[in-house]
Every structure is written in C-alpha cells, then in structure tokens.
Chain length 223, copies 2
DNA sequence: TTTAATTGTGACAGCTTTGTGAAATTTCAG
DNA sequence: CTGAAATTTCACAAAGCTGTCACAATTAAA
C-alpha cells in the first residue's frame, strides 16, 4: 500500500487526513514542518506528500523544492484560500495538485488517488511480487526480501526457490528439479539438489520452514 | 510595450481579450489553435501567452510544452471550470497562472500584469527531469548531471542509462538490453553490454551504486 | 535396539561469470 | 581524407558460485 507523508503544523489537520487515509488502507507518516519533512524524505521513500504551505521553520514550497532536488515524489499542496495561490504558480514548483483549505477530506483523498494512479508509480504496478508472510519474491526485479531486508541469493538459489514456489504444494523429485532448474542436460549427482536446498534454506532464515523434505521422494514448497 | 499572443478557438474570446489588452497599451497577436501558436512563436517573440486548453489541432497544454522546448515565455492558461484543472497539474506544465472561464477581462489583465511584473523569471523552463539523489537526468536536453555538475556521457552511455532508469527495479538481461538499446539488428557480443556498463558506472561516480549486477542474469537500476 | 537408508551439512577445488584495461575497429565532423 | 571520439572486441584478472565428497544426523524398518 502507498505511503503518504502528511505535513502540516496543525495537529488537527494531520489527524483528519491521517484518519481518512488509513481508512482507505494507506500507510501514513507525519511531519510538523518543512524541515522535518525534508529529513524524513531523506531517510525513507514515500509515494506521495500532502503538504501545507504555511508552516514554521521551513515553508511548504521551499520544502518541496528541497525534496525534489533528490527525489521525484508527487506532491499535493494545501493552503488557505487565495492567499498562497499566486505564490504556487509564481515559483512554478512541480506540484501535482492543489487543495484549498478548508477542504473536504473526501476530496483530498480522491485527489491523492488520482495522483497516485497517473504518475511515477506506474512502475509499482508493473512489478510482480509473490508473498508468503515475511518472504517476498519480486519476480520482476529478481529480488527476494525477508522481513523487508534484501536476501542475497545466488542465481541457483533464486532459480530453485522460484521453481519450488511456482509449484508450491507439489512434490518434486530430485530428478524433476534437476531437469527443470538445472536443465535436461545436467549430468551430475542427485545430491547436488540437497546441497542447494541447504543453501537456500540458510538464505531464507526462519522461512526455511516453507521448504519441506519429502523423505524418499524429494522436496516441496508448502505455505 | 509587451506583446501578447492570444490563443483560443473562439473568436469572441480572442476579441474580448484583445480589446482590453490593447486598451491597456499592449500589442496583441492571435492564433486559433495550438499548432498556429507554435508556428507563430517560432517566427517571433512574445512577452506572454494567454492560451486556452481545449482547442482543435493541438491542445493548449501540448502547445505550451512544444513552445517551451525552445522559448521561455510565461503562459496564462484559460479553461472551462474544473474540467481541465486536473490536466494542468497532472502534466506539471510550467504555467504561470490559470484563469477559469468565464472570466472577467479585468481579472485576466490584472494577472497578465502580475506575471509580466515578476520579470521574465520564467527562466525556470519546465524541463523533464528524473532525479535520484544527486543524479539528475534531464530528459529534454539529454543531459546528465551529478551533484550539479554535467557528466559527459557518450550517446550509448546515455541511452543505456535512460533505458535502465525507465525500467528501474526490473531485471534486464543482456539480450534484452542489446535489443532495446542497441536495436534488434545488433549482431555482436553480449559482453559489449558489460563494457558499456563499466563505462557508465565510471561516468556516474558514486551513483554507480544504482546499477546492480544480477549474476547469471544481467543488470538493473535500483534506486 | 540395531541397522540400513536417507537427508543435512561444512569444506573446497574448479569452474563460470563479471570487471577491466587496452587494442582494434567504426563513426563522423570538418 | 584525416583525426578524434565512440564503440566493440578481446584477453586476462577478480569475484563468487557450483558440484562433489565425506561425514554427521535423522528416520524408518526389522
């Protein structure tokens, strides 16, 4: 689910937006001013920022300018009616939408949805992921993460895991695995599979539990 | 006196704006659609453009994009209420102001005056850029900057980087890269990719970290 | 309980893949 | 046509993956 950074100095506003956003299933984070927002963006990635213009410490448009120096994150600006409208245009900030206070949370959410739908996160939808609890296989990027951390699998480990997962719940003999993962022209020992299963298990940490040994038969992935 | 280009398919609108503008002492010129506007801008310089969004042949926002490729002229957009508002923000055009139809000519003139007053600080032409920390790719100008300094990439390096970035997070085999970056008719060695990756990495300096080797597979851009 | 079969595991030599510098070739502007 | 820049190939170095083996641990059968 997309992560939203809500930036406003009024706690009330943050709460309202947060509540509505979380109701829609978004993750949220808050910042009280522009400085804080910049800091938070340095440390983590958000999918969209909802930012007030008038704030202490660092105003909204300066913050956007700063954040956009390093990251391309869509922004929806909030501001009091009229007052800051010219400034927004005047500075030609790359802002994706603009909502005037007081706003209806429903409208804001609709705009957030719209911005997320078009924009940069088009790549997000292209990425194919398979998840089992904290084990996540990003097929598109050929990357496996365990509880959010990237696991460094070797090519064979990845291929083996991918084949097992694709055939989850199905008993797979060593012969079958060799044929499918190694290739029909592999001339080696059956036990090679065992070694790679061992390595794979060690790479998967606690999620080794998904790889089940079928004595006298082979292995299977069971989630 | 400043010269205004008025672009709208309705003669009525053009006339009204023209009359008021000339009363204020501005010179005016007219175009019926985006295409005409682009043509006229190629031939002469204007100080400001007042442009409708919805027009036959070439819509306003495409016209602005085209014109801004070569000239930095401030723009005030016109459009029917609400309808095109999203589009404006959606495409992040470098527009200096925005007036909703039906508008009062007096208000439009006031905005024209205001935009002209802010100086031709429209030096910030809207250029399409992609950023990852200090790595900035100016797509419009085919230029890459690293921490603000222009990196001297060769054409292949740029093409390769651009393709990787467009497909960030996606595992790309050498074959795929050859096909997409070099062209389907390239009959060379796979390892050519490696050499160009090497060169690209060296050009990117510390941001070489974004280019990830996928052993046994290929490469990907990961930001 | 013993025994035999099967699977788990650590170590490592050899192999495959990737990184890299340099040379050969091609492209292109002048 | 010439020379500089870009591209491609090549060979070797470096990195890191694989497959095998020996032995330990586990399981099932007798």
């Amino acid at each position: 689910m997309p992560k939203i950074l809500i930036v406003d100095d009024e706690k009330m506003i943050r709460n309202v937006v947060k509540e509505y956003a979380e109701f829609e299933g978004y993750e949220t984070a808050e910042a009280e001013n522009g400085m804080e927002a910049v800091e938070m963006c340095r440390k983590q990635d958000f999918d969209i920022i909802v930012m007030d213009i008038m704030m202490p410490r660092l105003d909204g448009y300066s913050a956007v300018k700063e954040i956009h120096k390093t990251k391309q994150i869509p922004v929806i600006m909030l501001s009091a009616r009229g007052e800051e409208y010219d400034k927004l245009f005047g500075f030609e900030i790359g802002v994706d939408d603009y909502v005037v206070k007081p706003f209806s949370p429903k409208e804001l959410l609709a705009r957030i949805k719209a911005v997320l739908k078009r924009g940069t996160s088009a790549d997000e939808t292209k990425i194919e992921k398979i998840k089992f609890e904290g084990l996540e296989i990003n097929v598109t990027g050929r990357e496996v993460t365990i509880d959010g951390k990237v696991a460094q699998l070797t090519p064979k480990e990845y291929d083996l895991l991918f084949y097992l997962v694709r055939n989850k719940g199905i008993a797979l003999s060593r012969e079958k695995l060799l044929e499918e993962v190694w290739g029909y022209d592999f001339y080696g020992d059956d036990r090679t599979v065992d070694t790679h299963i061992k390595m794979l298990r060690s790479s998967l940490g606690e999620y080794r539990k998904f790889i089940v040994t079928l004595r006298g038969m082979g292995y299977k992935f069971e989630a």
